[in-house]
Symmetry: C4
Subunit: 367 residues, 4 copies
């Protein structure tokens, strides 16, 4: 604990950049490493989820992600459920290279209402491809559209916001009672972001199958500048991993998955997230660099088009290869943007681990 | 405590940039948040004060600030009390884009004497608009012009300097006895800057209604380079907040407001200042970005035109919108320069707080 | 120990840049300092080894290094054992200044198979020059080519990889049993990289004459970005030096040399490595600046051309002088790139040390 | 203490940039502050010494410094004692703006031998002007030229090197026995640099009137890069100040002055040096910005022209005003390069101190 001043104490918190993984006395062949991830009734080939962001996930890329053994989550309050054909808008956004005005244009484009029938249509399209189906809503929209989502029977319903609590109080609108809601819902729920032990523990008690740790923001969210709020991710994940353990005991056996969601820009961050205790990692910006990304190299999160207090910027990345190459390589660059799955496999092999669950125990250092 | 060397120990001190606010397990609707701030006999809509700097506060902008529910403090030893019409000078300063020579020109412009009748005139102009009236003097000028100020019966008399102590010793001039002075004065006094528990406690004992924490310097004051003196603000505010608590007990109930004054460049800093214990925040540079700012995008503090030891530089900002938009949004940028009031409201809602006083207890982390 | 979060603790680890050597109360004349380094049956004039990287070590430069009293290690799975005449390829690489495509070209060039007869030829060429002979293989290639190397009877066989453990498990290929292998081998082995006390202790138990500490990567390896793995070198060396001490006791007298291999970019880093406990230092990038360097100013490690997950970039340096000048001066630059041996000598003299072994005890500070 | 690794522990050390001075509950008028500094038989108007560097001190500027109440030390092994008229060389150095080749040219220029008669002539010239006389030699040259210096009866003889110890061992040359030497010498000696409690204590025992703390290098010495050696100055000064206290007791009353020599680039650093325990401060680069500086805006130390291992670079500064303005203002810039004396005065007044000796106790923070 630091003493900020006589009336205030504070913990030190650590970002992924502050920590590094340390080799052990063993090494393993990469072929020994098992990356499959099982949550609820489903199994995936690797513990990487594509974040529900319009710049990376369309019905088509969610299907592609699923066919490669991963999980892609479609944003159910983004362009694909506001417009019959969002492609011209995605193209327009990509043509607008003036960062000074693009925020205003995003605010306009996303002012269009969400249409329930498009939610149904998009989820059905993904289901028809024979891959796992997952869609996300913010807590604000969940009450209105949850029934629509439920009827589409996705494999996962993701409730994702900057900060989602089990106890939200509002006098304007009847707040969502997460616990009752999830109990009644016939679909496994993944919910977050959360950033603290207490916050996560309460989310786990709602019956969620997984919790998202972090703010889940885009690559350049500015929540720290605008609100003063920040969640150094290594600490947040390590805190929530302890909540998972305590809740496992308290619930006599319910294992709630901890999913790191934010600040994952390079393949090394995926390994670090697991090393800090995550079961899986939700990624955004690395997938924005794939040739198939709907954003055409541009990337933004929901916080970038908030109507009165935008807290993120649209950013541009160079495209590095196909989605398959981004996930499985071969890589032709040395910056951690290609072969995400191969890099995780190699990080584990190099440090002597073969199981993701075991790799949560690998030693890390600060420095 | 750190050991600097065998003969010297030092506390670690923290700036706003070193700390971040952490969400709790609760969230609130933004409409639940109450921001009103009551000090002495007056109430304000939000705990943000415009600093007495010529680049942001003219009689007109002080009136505008008041009409929007805030408090604008006019600098009573700036251009408005040295010149009948300072507008041509403000325009000249804005045209002079040569930072190498502008310090010298500022020194000349501010060498003009202060005129008591202009103090009276400017304060009356603000009063006539029906908004709260506040003017500031430095400790050096307070003795000479205090009577003039008092007769204008402002709502607050602000005594503001780089470092103001309750005990100033000088052989040249009869130093101001702050305690006697404030006792005799018929106007509530806000006084500072101070930076330590002891310094603040002594200022509280003078009978001040509020103390300013920090150096109150412009956006680019260089006191650390020139004098070696620096006050990391998160620590200073947290120290002074403890002095407030101890003085409250010692005085059997006098609550002296702690007002952070310095290093507040973005909306997130306002939230952090309160999180560290401030009751209100005095801002400068964020308001220099308003279209109405007298500085026309340029910004400087009194330390920038000191006649023999200037300790700050004039800086330039892009204008982002009207004063109303800077305070209340809607924001069209993601960098914490617009919608200051909305950002504070959202920071509190996101972390589950509805009262500013309660928000002083929110958890912060270092990192 | 830091608490990353409730479920994870971490040591602080330090890089060479984080530490500095402190003078003592004594100084020595530079002529008093003895730098000779004795390992196994050989003595060298100074404890600096040239790393087995194609950009710095050819048979010719290995010979030159030996003639000056040092040890140059030839990479036995680089261009010199894949091609009869690698010079045209080295020239081509140097002409290709497009860093975006050079990784792909390196991948192609190094896809050519290693030829056993070239291993023999190159080692014989060095031996014929009458200097110490040392060649390196990665653990992956050691089994296949070890016999070839052994028959060439080099003075040292270096097994060098990013992370080499005494216990490697693989189901695809029969892993190298280092302990058995080294026991049977008739050549002293230097093996690494390793980064931890435990890892090093196990390598020492294999019978190695020396262990390499660090990743041994090129000047801009990106293992931290790609894999999340990093080894702050000051801490790694200081940990492994303790393993040397404990193994010395456990083995009743086997002194295994600790050789820092990585993050040595300037002459000051060589002094710091020894100050942290190293017996000798393997250097790469400083030698890439020599006029004779085969890389012609360009520099890359094996990790830069990995076929599916490159983890390093080729970099370019200005050439500063001849290899002799780089090692012995006189220096004409003040950045720690010339007169490496003279700088080590002076660092020891300035702090009052005359023996490398004693200099391992010099005080260092963080800051 | 930090644990670097299992075999090595290290103190944290702090540079001036790491610390800041904190106001107290008192303030003082600047006219209350007394800056005079008394050492041995002499008194000075302020505790600032001009460093013996050719780029700032010629006989003329040493005289000017003295006439303004300060102490200027002439480098007795620089250009003024190697050449009858160094002005053409100083002009040539200033015309050579190619930093890549200037080191080599400096090496040539300084290869010229030192002439004893010029030492005498230069010191006499300063004495004739009626100001305090001080000249410096490195420990290497002291034996040869000490008698010459002594016969010129300067007020102070400064022995200044990167690291000077009371116990220097050399087999090549008979090392200087500092203790005997100083005892026999009829001139008060100031000696350094030193950086540690032990090193300083031993220097104090030689009978020196003052010790220099730091490396005394030029503005851009690169000792850390080249040798790995570094002395974070706040810690070094605070350590040596404790040696002063302990030696005062041990010697039953000899007060040896602690003079910070290095890393003083801005006026704030002067205040910080005293705050950490220094009695006076030796400055280089701030005076290189004076119009009269012989270096014509260029600045270099002896380490920049070392014949085989240069450890510093020549740097260029903009000239900001006359030497008088640099020392006493009025300042027209806000970066701590003008009005050095006024800034120290104001730093003390702002924090409530009137005596330099008392100011050594002012609180500092890390941050």
């Amino acid at each position: 604990m630091h003493e900020i001043g006589r009336s205030k104490r504070a913990r030190q918190a650590f970002a992924f950049d502050d920590v590094a993984i340390v080799p052990t006395r063993r090494t393993r062949g990469v072929e020994e490493v098992k990356l499959d991830w099982r949550i609820d009734a489903l199994s995936f080939g690797f513990p990487i989820i594509a974040a529900p962001m319009d710049s990376i996930m369309s019905p088509d890329t969610a299907i592609a992600m699923g066919k490669m053994g991963g999980l892609g989550v479609l944003n159910l309050e983004g362009l694909w459920t506001r417009y019959d054909d969002p492609e011209p808008l995605l193209a327009e956004i990509a043509r607008n290279t003036d960062e000074a005005t693009v925020t205003r244009r995003l605010q306009e484009i996303y002012a269009q209402p969400i249409r329930a029938e498009l939610i149904t249509e998009r989820l059905n399209q993904i289901r028809a491809a024979g891959v796992p189906v997952a869609g996300s809503l913010s807590p604000q929209q969940t009450a209105e559209f949850a029934e629509t989502v439920e009827q589409a029977t996705p494999d996962f319903f993701v409730i994702r916001g900057t900060t989602v609590s089990a106890e939200h109080v509002s006098s304007d609108v009847e707040p969502l009672n997460l616990k009752e809601f999830i109990y009644r819902l016939d679909v496994p729920v993944i919910v977050g972001g959360c950033a603290t032990y207490q916050g996560a523990l309460h989310l786990m008690r709602t019956g969620a199958a997984g919790v998202l740790v972090g703010f889940g923001g885009g690559a350049s969210h500015t929540t720290r500048d605008v609100l003063g709020i920040s969640v150094p991710m290594a600490s947040a994940v390590a805190d929530v991993a302890e909540a998972r353990r305590d809740y496992l005991d308290e619930s006599q056996g319910r294992y709630v998955h901890v999913i790191a969601d934010g600040s994952v820009g390079r393949s090394g961050d995926i390994a670090k997230a697991i090393a800090c205790g995550a079961d899986a990692v939700m990624v955004g910006s690395p997938l924005a660099k794939a040739a198939e990304a709907p954003g055409r190299g541009f990337h933004w999160g929901a916080e970038a088009w908030h109507h009165e207090l935008p807290r993120g910027e649209r950013v541009h990345f160079d495209q590095v290869g196909s989605l398959h190459e981004v996930l499985f390589g071969p890589s032709r660059v040395a910056d951690g943007t290609m072969n995400l799955v191969g890099a995780l496999r190699r990080a584990m092999a190099t440090t002597g681990y073969t199981e993701v669950k075991e790799f949560q125990k690998v030693e890390v250092v600060v420095g």
